[in-house]
Amino acid sequence: MSYAVGDRVRARAGDPDHHTRLPRYVRGQAGQVVALLGDWALPDASAAGVTRKETCYAVRFAAADLFGSGDHSVTVDLWESYLDRA
């Protein structure tokens, strides 16, 4: 599965028992892909000694969705396996 700019995606909700760079504050939340950032080693795999490249996406979330208030947006860079289609 790969995504395009404009797609709605949801960050995975689980709490993995290994290293990850999926910040807790966006887990389970839906946002919109605003840019493709190229293929980079997935930190979760790198931490286990395996180099596995995946596409990385800049995903924009509404602060009101994340925190219940705020007019701003927060854009977080997320690897493909952190995401599902929303």
Partner: protein, 200 residues
């Protein structure tokens, strides 16, 4: 390595577990003959003398005076940095431009990612837990503490540097600077302006 990690205001990084790990790693590298103390010092000195916010400031000022360069900077930050001698950054450089509608601010909630080559060593506050946790949640309050007051209709866009991309803000060119050269304009650009915690 001795001098480079002393001067942060805010928290004392010496006592952090990461600092102890870095010292241990350096000792292992030296013991294994992979690097000498002098080589590590020289590397750090090179990084910390060539890495300064003057680099980012010059790129911003060029973008203000050269529309073609502005296009390049926004569309391909790495190619734009290469024109200033930074062809091998090792990360994807993304420039986010302040406009009359949007003010950008960068943060790294997971650690302290930031384009060191172009901005110089990151300020202590950039690495503080307070800045990292509060900027995504209440950027308006954080900006107010930096003395930044935005018009009510300006939306704040926060960029959390969680991946191998590094962000730099292109501030809006200040009013009343018509006719200034890029060199003069670069002197107006501050490190905080390039992070988004100042207007310029």
């Amino acid at each position: 390595m001795t001098a480079h990690n002393h001067a942060h205001d805010g928290e004392d990084h010496h006592d952090l577990p990461a600092a102890a790990r870095v010292r241990r790693l350096e000792e292992r590298l030296i013991a294994a003959g992979l690097a000498s103390d002098e080589e590590i010092d020289a590397y750090l000195a090179r990084l910390y003398t060539s890495a300064t916010p003057v680099n980012g400031a010059r790129m911003a000022a060029r973008a203000w005076t050269d529309p073609g360069y502005r296009e390049l900077l926004i569309n391909d930050g790495n190619a734009a940095a290469a024109q200033f001698g930074f062809g091998e950054l090792g990360y994807r450089l993304r420039i986010v431009e302040n406009t009359p509608e949007t003010h950008n601010v960068i943060v790294c909630t997971l650690c302290s990612c930031y384009p060191v080559s172009l901005l110089g060593p990151s300020p202590g506050w950039y690495k503080s837990f307070a800045y990292r946790s509060r900027t995504v949640r209440e950027p308006l309050s954080v900006l107010a503490e930096f003395g930044v007051a935005l018009p009510e209709d300006v939306r704040i866009s926060v960029w959390d540097s969680t991946s191998e991309a590094r962000y730099m803000v292109l501030p809006a060119r200040p009013a009343g600077t018509d006719g200034m050269t890029a060199a003069k304009l670069a002197e107006l650009v501050t490190l905080n302006g390039l992070i988004g915690t100042a207007l310029v």
